[in-house]
């Protein structure tokens, strides 16, 4: 057990280092060009206004001092006031969290519903036709960019057939259909491919052959022996896919006018609302890191072999 605790501690350390590095990048969003005053003030500001603003916000101090202050505020969740919404930037971002979470949750569900049966089918059949089906699906999935799929779907289902709303989230559940399909299209190809590979590998292993030789029914061989072991690389991948979904949601939300964090960040950049951009990036990074750390920490519990190895 102590070795397991050590592994968990090491994993947490990596997360903290990455988080610390991320704060530098988030700080630089506003400070890379040197002086954020020009970015924050409108072009019409007079030189005396600029000087006053610079001094009032402490932008005339050494950059290291500014970073430490930024960090100390950030740890307390203070990213400053949103320049557009006139409320704390973090609050503006967190208000959009439920919409993004809803979209991502449905997309994960959709990914599982499509990927698992497809991967199991291909791995169990294991013939040329099944593998060709898999390759076509993955190349199509990776090859058609999400926003192209989105536009084609809007054209067909909203413009031509008038079946689904083209944007917004006011018509539950019709409003969710197209955005969640588009978002799931980011994850389905890779998830299917990895699950199929690991399942095929397990099916070729000795203990599955033994289970078959004992005369166990296929359901028990596939369900109890094979699938459970094939799920481990699949779980790790799901952690990575959360990042893909977070990135994909930026595009998806903007296209479908879905009021989540992604759409907020894109708007905040055009509005030069830097505190909101910083708070948004921070929330996404923290969520992503926490999910991945949890995945890494959990799977020694799922796979006793990893417990002994670490």
């Amino acid at each position: 057990m102590p070795t397991l605790l050590m592994a968990v501690a090491r994993r947490l350390m990596t997360m903290i280092v990455a988080l610390f590095g991320a704060t530098i990048i988030i700080f630089l969003i506003l400070h890379l060009t040197g002086d954020p005053t020009t970015a924050l003030l409108p072009d019409t500001a007079t030189p005396s206004q600029i000087a006053a603003f610079r001094h009032a916000n402490g932008f005339d101090r050494p950059i290291f001092v500014q970073y430490v202050e930024f960090l100390s505020h950030m740890v307390r969740g203070d990213f400053g006031q949103s320049l557009r919404y006139q409320s704390p930037a973090l609050q503006v971002v967190l208000d959009r969290l439920p919409a993004t979470a809803e979209l991502m949750g449905i997309s994960v569900l959709l990914t599982l519903l499509v990927s698992m049966p497809l991967a199991i089918f291909v791995a169990v059949r294991d013939n040329t036709a099944a593998r060709a089906l898999l390759r076509v699906t993955t190349v199509l999935g990776q090859g058609v960019p999400g926003f192209v799929l989105a536009i084609l779907m809007i054209f067909v289902f909203s413009v031509q057939l008038h079946w689904l709303p083209s944007s917004g989230n006011r018509q539950f559940p019709q409003d969710l259909i197209m955005p969640s399909i588009v978002l799931a299209s980011f994850t389905i190809p890779q998830v299917t491919r990895v699950l199929q590979t690991s399942l095929s590998e397990v099916l070729r292993s000795d203990y599955v052959r033994t289970a078959r030789a004992k005369g166990l029914p296929p359901r028990s061989v596939y369900g109890k022996h094979a699938l459970r072991n094939a799920l481990i690389p699949f779980l790790t991948l799901l952690g990575v896919q959360v990042g893909v979904l977070l990135g994909g949601s930026v595009v998806t939300e903007t296209i479908f006018g879905w009021p989540g964090i992604g759409q907020l960040m894109v708007q905040a950049i055009s509005n030069r609302d830097y505190p909101v951009v910083q708070a948004g990036v921070a929330v996404v990074v923290v969520a992503f890191l926490v999910v991945n750390t949890l995945v890494d920490i959990t799977y020694p519990w799922l796979d006793p072999r990893l417990r002994r190895a670490s």
Binding site: Q142, I151, V244, V250
Partner: protein, 294 residues
């Protein structure tokens, strides 16, 4: 795409150009789909790169009297957009911009990843800092990092897009390069070079890099279409090239606002994008499978 292995079976006196044609024909017979895709992509690239020579005019020139002309209107094969600009011309110039940006970013990301990967693998005290940098970068979903970098660089320009794509793209190369270097470091040929008095720098560049490069190039072939997608996403979101430069993403963004009255300004570039990326993805898939076989 000729295969040098053909020389063995070819007649002795065939001139080399012909021999290569022979090889290409044989490749085409074995892999008709791949060969077709190669021909198609080369054609598309040639047309878009030579666009000014082929009589395509200014992609930003619009005739408001010709606003949203239907596809097939004389002089406008793909129709015109809301501002009366010829869509075919804009598509051709868009492909040119997208390909040049993605190519520049792919090469830059590969070189950066190769350099940092070699450093991490050969210089012991640099290993940890470089790998921590990789960890930090992995904490950002690619598009979110792109947003952060665009915001930090202060807006849209072609150079900024290349920088963004490079920054988001180098990590994979660096990790693979480092891993390969770590396993090659104790190989016999490295020992031999060291015994012959080669410096570490020379070993890295002349002995390790050439061994790592083929794998990285295959990765680059697979990554190129992904960078094209990212470039188009950024342009679509208004975070890529300035709107005055036509790209497929910018065209879709423009066209989407009028989608309910005229579909072609938005859907046509979307289809072009899908076809282009599909072909490139399929070629990348073939490249990585071919590499795995050897």
């Amino acid at each position: 795409m000729s295969t040098p292995a053909v020389t063995a079976s070819a007649p002795v006196a065939v001139p080399s150009g012909r021999r290569e044609l022979h090889g290409a024909a044989r490749f085409a017979r074995r892999h008709p789909v791949i060969a077709g895709e190669v021909v198609l992509i080369v054609l598309i690239l040639l047309v878009s790169l030579a666009a000014p020579l082929l009589g395509f005019g200014d992609p930003n020139h619009g005739d408001l009297l010709q606003s949203v002309a239907k596809p097939g209107t004389s002089g406008h094969l793909l129709g015109t957009d809301v501002q009366g600009r010829d869509i075919l011309t804009r598509v051709v110039f868009s492909i040119r911009t997208s390909v040049l940006i993605s190519l520049a970013a792919t090469v830059a990301a590969l070189l950066l990843g190769l350099g940092l990967g070699l450093l991490a693998g050969t210089v012991r005290w640099l290993d940890t800092p470089i790998m921590r940098l990789v960890d930090i970068q992995m904490a950002f979903p690619a598009l979110v990092l792109a947003i952060a970098v665009v915001a930090a660089l202060g807006g849209a320009s072609i150079v900024n897009v290349v920088v963004v794509l490079t920054v988001t793209g180098w990590v994979g190369y660096a990790r693979v390069c480092r891993a390969m270097v770590l396993s090659l470091r104790n190989a016999l040929f490295v020992d031999a070079a060291r015994a012959a008095g080669a410096t570490s720098t020379r070993i890295a560049w002349r002995h390790l890099a050439p061994n790592v490069l083929p794998t990285l190039v295959a990765m680059a072939v697979a990554q190129f279409p992904m960078l094209m997608i990212q470039e188009a996403s950024l342009s679509y979101l208004g975070l890529g090239v300035p709107a005055s430069t036509p790209t497929l993403g910018v065209m879709m963004q423009d066209g989407q606002q009028a989608l309910f009255t005229a579909w072609w300004p938005c859907v046509e570039p979307a289809i072009v994008m899908a076809v282009l990326v599909l072909i490139l993805t399929s070629l990348g898939d073939y490249a990585s499978r071919a590499l795995n076989r050897t």
